[in-house]
Amino acid sequence: MAVWDWSVFFNNLVHPAILRGVWTTVWLTFVTLILAIVVGTIVALIGRLQSTVASWFYQGYVAFFRATPLLVQLVFLYSALPQMGIRLSVVEAAIIGLTLSESPYVAEVVRSAISAVPPAQWEAGRAIGFRPFTIMRAVVFPQALRIAIPPLGNEFVRQLKNTSLVSAISMAELFRATDNLIQGSFRVLEALSVATIYYLLLTAIWTYAQKAFERRNSHWFAETSAARATPAEPLKLTEA
């Protein structure tokens, strides 16, 4: 058996099962990242409520989902929940696990983005007579979004790699598809090289798209850094 067999390599590269796996990896990454952004933003907003219970919830949530390995969460969702009468399909368990495990990272990004908006912006909103919710929605959140987008974009790469773990609960994403080919052909090197190439390619495409987006909208991002550069009033934030 040759060390490297090009025909196996090319065969794997365009193998329908691999291409289906690539597609599964891509949509799983997008869907769960978007859901994690929704969940993480809600968690971050809860964490900002001025209540001890909310702050405990936030700390506990972030600590719990950061401390538990994604693999454990996935097996728990897929194999332990049925014991409690909750039966999830592979896809459901994969989506829920990937979303929950990513959400604390999003929550931290969103939370620090919100605190990066200068207190003077809150003040300006209050002085006009906006209610706190309006200030958050129309003044602070749009600026926090501009601050959060670059770090959230980087989370895509983490999430892309995380999807490989759902192979453990038998979801046929890229890594599982690769593994299946290996089981059939015993050509590990060629198959893993193909998987690696696809992961690299997806990361490269995303990174390029993200940079292009940030460059094309640089004025949009600058609008917030301009706010950060304005001389800030001393921090005075007592609500009447």
């Binding site: 003077a120 304005t230 009447a240």
Partner: protein
């Protein structure tokens, strides 16, 4: 807070502070301020840095909560509501409603950087008052024209000079149709060459008989644009009187020394 003229005039001074005390922790920033301003009056607040000018302005629109004393604007008690069990702090919603009638202009402009000049000026009427967009836009354009920035309606704050940003900020405050305007050192963060354009706009606001308070280091401006001048030091009012008197022949030695220090070191009065 749009009481009719009859009500506000019969209720005495338009802005009425009685023994206002403000603490920051153990530090006392305002030590029992009493002040009466009648409708349409323009009042300059002067005094050394740290004397409590900003704090006083911020208490008047309840950006700061006071520890004792009473503030009334247009007959309404600021930041508090009367209940059977004594005065209670207003809810965030009611405090917001009170601030809608009190315009505030900050030293550092504090425009919303993600909105154009026009959107900044429209933001109050649309987001706080629920005015329809077309109407708010028409009025915002009028206001931008009044501060001579009609051609900058589509510019973002970062594309404007400090003086232009501050004029947008004034238009933004006026868009709420306030009956009081508070200016907190509106020209202190500006390049010298843009100070005058902002002072001119403020003088025009005054010409509409707006009741206003201006913390400022521009003594020349205070002299001709303020009916009254209040000299503060260490959280207390040391001297108050017609601007022409307080600024040209102050009675108290401390005010004399403050004004002498300014003219002796003219460059420092922007600091």
């Amino acid at each position: 807070m749009s009481l009719s003229n009859v009500t506000s005039q019969s209720a005495g001074p338009f802005i009425h502070l009685q023994n206002v005390v403000k603490h920051f922790g153990t530090f006392t920033a305002l030590r029992g301020i009493s002040l009466e301003i009648i409708k349409g009056q323009s009042v300059a607040l002067i005094g050394p840095s740290g004397s409590g000018k900003s704090t006083l302005l911020r208490c008047i629109n309840a950006l700061e909560q006071i520890q004792s004393g009473i503030i009334h604007v247009d007959g309404e008690r600021i930041g508090m509501r009367e209940t059977a069990a004594g005065p209670k702090p207003l809810s965030a919603k009611d405090a917001a409603r009170q601030r809608q009638a009190i315009g505030m202009v900050f030293q550092s402009f504090n425009l919303f950087p993600h909105m154009t000049a026009l959107e900044n000026v429209m933001s109050g009427p649309t987001l706080a008052l629920g005015e329809v967009t077309a109407q708010a836009r028409r009025r915002a354009l009028e206001l931008l024209d009044r501060v001579r920035l009609a051609d900058k309606a589509a510019s973002f704050p970062r594309q404007l000079s400090g003086g232009q940003q501050q004029r947008v900020a004034i238009a933004r405050a006026l868009a709420m149709r306030p009956n009081v305007m508070l200016f907190d050192e509106p020209t202190s963060a500006l390049d010298p060459e843009t100070v005058q354009e902002v002072l001119n706009v403020i003088a025009e606001v005054r010409a509409t008989r707006m009741t206003m308070l201006i913390a400022t280091h521009e003594m020349e401006f205070a002299r001709h644009a303020a009916d009254l001048t209040v000299f503060m030091e260490a959280g207390a009012i040391v001297e108050i009187g017609p601007s022409s008197e307080v600024l040209t022949s102050p009675k108290t030695e401390r005010c004399q020394r403050f004004l002498a220090g300014l003219s002796g070191n003219h460059a420092a009065h922007r600091m």
